[in-house]
């Protein structure tokens, strides 16, 4: 229990730090949201008026405290560019990005874990060596290129896939899949390659340990050895990289939403940055931070579920 409480405090601190950093960075960055909004024709009084209307003329710490207060009540302020609550904009886009990230994650887990175990059991045989070579290539491929190749050679060839736009799950499941599978694949392929290698290494490390020999000496079946004992033990080191992979997936959505014109949070972020829409950027960055930190918290909980040695500490 202490372990989880400590983790939770760490989580709060991380979120706080990130909020301060993003706040600070935006003060340093060149460009002025007011000028961007009003254009070059605007006169000084107009600019001053809008500035005080948006509260941007107050001292920094006051702006930050204000923003924090809003955050705690669930109010992320208003977007300058869209003149809408940031919260509404986010909630509009979130389902797209969450679906994309979720589908990607499923692909990564479903493919990389069995593949990694398979390769480990055939260590140094042809199938293992070829898998390692293929994944080496898979890791090096840049995702915008991969996305374009998938559009060209899969999206354009098969009518099923839509290569731009989004259809919500609530409207049609196959519709949603037709818009999400290719972008998800684009993010998933390099991550599958990375995770495959971690799984393979973790399994190889486990199968030479003493306890595996004991299980064999009990006459347990090969399935029991691999999919009960070795898999559960390997999941502990794999979980460590799982948090990193999730962060990569969340980051991956930003680029891939551009390539596939998906109206997700990533696309919103790009718009927000190019318009110097500070409240919107701050809101989105907070969303990404909370998502990544929450994932890591879940990983920590999973750790203590998987590994009885952690529970006592």
């Amino acid at each position: 229990m202490m372990y989880l409480i400590r983790r939770f405090i760490l989580l709060i601190i991380t979120i706080l730090l990130v909020s301060i950093i993003t706040f600070g960075v935006f003060q340093i960055l060149p460009g002025d949201p007011i000028r961007t909004m009003l254009g070059t024709e605007a006169d000084a009084t107009q600019i001053e008026n809008l500035r005080s209307e948006l509260g941007l003329d107050r001292p920094l710490y006051e702006q930050y405290a204000d923003w924090m207060k809003g955050l705690l009540t669930g109010d992320l302020g208003n977007s300058i560019r869209f003149s809408m609550p940031v919260k509404d904009l986010l909630f509009d886009r979130l389902p797209v990005t969450m679906s994309l990230a979720g589908l990607t994650l499923c692909m990564v887990l479903i493919v990389s874990i069995p593949l990694g175990m398979f390769a480990a059991r055939r260590q140094n045989k042809l199938s293992d060596v070829s898998l390692s070579t293929v994944t080496q290539i898979g890791m090096a491929v840049p995702s915008f290129w991969l996305g374009m190749m998938l559009i060209l050679y899969v999206g354009m060839k098969f009518d099923f896939f839509k290569i731009s736009g989004y259809i919500p799950w609530t409207q049609s499941v196959t519709g949603a899949l037709s818009t999400l599978v290719l972008p998800a694949l684009t993010i998933a392929i390099p991550q599958i390659a990375v995770n495959f290698r971690y799984v393979r290494t973790a399994v190889l490390e486990q199968i030479q340990l003493d306890y595996v020999r004991t299980i064999r000496s009990k006459g347990m079946s090969e399935q029991n050895v691999m999919y009960k004992h070795v898999l559960k033990n390997s999941m502990i080191p794999i979980l460590t990289v799982f948090g990193l992979i999730m962060a990569e997936v969340v980051a991956g959505t930003i680029i891939v939403e551009q390539v596939f014109s998906l109206p997700g949070v990533g696309q919103l972020l790009i718009t927000a940055i190019s318009n110097r829409d500070f409240p919107l950027v701050q809101g989105i960055v907070m969303y990404i931070t909370v998502a990544v930190v929450a994932i890591n918290f879940i990983v920590d909980i999973l750790y203590s579920v998987l590994d009885p040695r952690i529970r006592l500490r």
């Binding site: 306890y211 020999r213 004991t214 000496s217 006459g219 079946s221 029991n224 004992h229 998987l306 006592l312």
Partner: protein, 342 residues
């Protein structure tokens, strides 16, 4: 319970040869031409210094050798008349943990850290017996009580890291005994434990053996343990069995210089335990064995022929065998004396 026929051969290892392919390209003859048998219900000790091939021999019987780098190049291992080396992996898995089971040298690492004691004990029972979860649980609790674990019904939910080394070895023994094996291989089961716990575990093993009517292949390098427990002793050196005899015979009438040296390393009442004599020299590595007798570099009786000619296994009497040129010399002398009498 019908009595077990101790005349009946349970395990027969014949001319077993095991090689390892080393990383530097060399071949290591780790087990070379090893033959022995174990009768039903018998306790046989296998003794020898570190690296002599004891664990590798026992792993070969369990068919748990790492292949590659290991390879069984010759020989047979008959168990109840069937050659285990002919079995497919799946067939062998029904023998392991059921008819033959094993307790390992390293109690601290031999259990799966992420499953409970009960889970690991019950899966072993349910693998070989058609019993319900509830019955398996009861059996598991009973076994844990049998190996002297108090409040077994609580212990069943504990994880290995919550137990001491001695406790873990008790659990290992419970697992090994779960299905009343005909043969238990105990590979230095007490070496890694505190001296105070060693005797307890040893007594426990002997008690379990008696109650479950199993034969034991007991691997150790401790001669005093041998004296206390074994019916018969096999002495192993550099991959070969160099002497084999009933325990009394071996202690009273050792023939091989290595056996004699081993017996001298035994603590007795009047020697200082701190200053036990050890055998001078080291075991030759398995990839660079001497041409002649493998013990020759360390043997104080080594003769000329010992450097070039490998001694064969010779019969001292029906139950006593030795692999040494000294004995063939004695044999000739005995013949000569017989001849002069007539």
């Amino acid at each position: 319970m019908e009595p077990i026929n101790t005349q009946q051969v349970l395990l027969e290892v014949s001319n077993l040869k095991i090689q390892f392919q080393l990383k530097n390209g060399k071949q290591a003859k780790v087990v070379d031409d090893v033959s022995f048998s174990i009768h039903k219900g018998e306790t046989v000790a296998l003794v020898g210094e570190s690296g002599s091939g004891k664990s590798i021999t026992s792993l070969a019987i369990m068919r748990l050798l790492p292949i590659p780098p290991g390879e069984i190049t010759a020989g047979t291992i008959h168990f109840n008349g069937n050659n285990l080396l002919d079995y497919k992996n799946k067939e062998m898995s029904h023998i392991r943990g059921n008819d033959i089971s094993m307790v390992f040298q390293e109690p601290m690492t031999s259990l799966d850290p992420v499953f409970t004691i009960g889970n690991q004990l019950m899966e072993s029972i349910r693998r070989h017996r058609k019993v319900s979860k509830k019955e398996a649980r009861e059996k598991a609790i009973h076994l844990l009580q049998e190996v002297g674990i108090a409040n077994a019904d609580k212990m069943i939910a504990e994880y290995p890291h919550q137990l001491s080394g001695g406790m873990r070895q008790r659990v290992m023994i419970a697992i090994a005994m779960a299905n009343n094996p005909q043969l238990l291989i105990a590979d230095e089961p007490t070496t890694a434990l505190d001296v105070t716990v060693q005797a307890q575990i040893l007594n426990l093993m002997m008690k379990m053996k008696k109650e479950h009517r199993s034969a034991i292949l007991f691997i150790t390098h401790d001669m005093s343990v041998v004296a206390e427990t074994a019916d018969r002793v096999m002495v192993m050196y550099a991959g070969q069995i160099v002497e084999e005899a009933p325990v009394r015979e071996l202690f009273l009438n050792p023939q091989h210089p290595y056996t004699t040296a081993l017996l001298k390393t035994m603590p007795s009442l009047d020697t200082d335990v701190e200053r036990l004599p050890s055998i001078p020299g080291i075991v030759p590595p398995a990839y660079a064995l001497p041409d002649g007798c493998r013990f020759a570099p360390r043997c104080q009786f080594a003769m000329e022929q010992c450097q070039t000619l490998q001694p064969e296994v010779l019969t001292v009497n029906e139950a006593h065998k030795v692999r040494c040129h000294l004995f063939s010399g004695k044999e000739e002398r005995a013949y000569a004396e017989e001849g002069s009498l007539t």
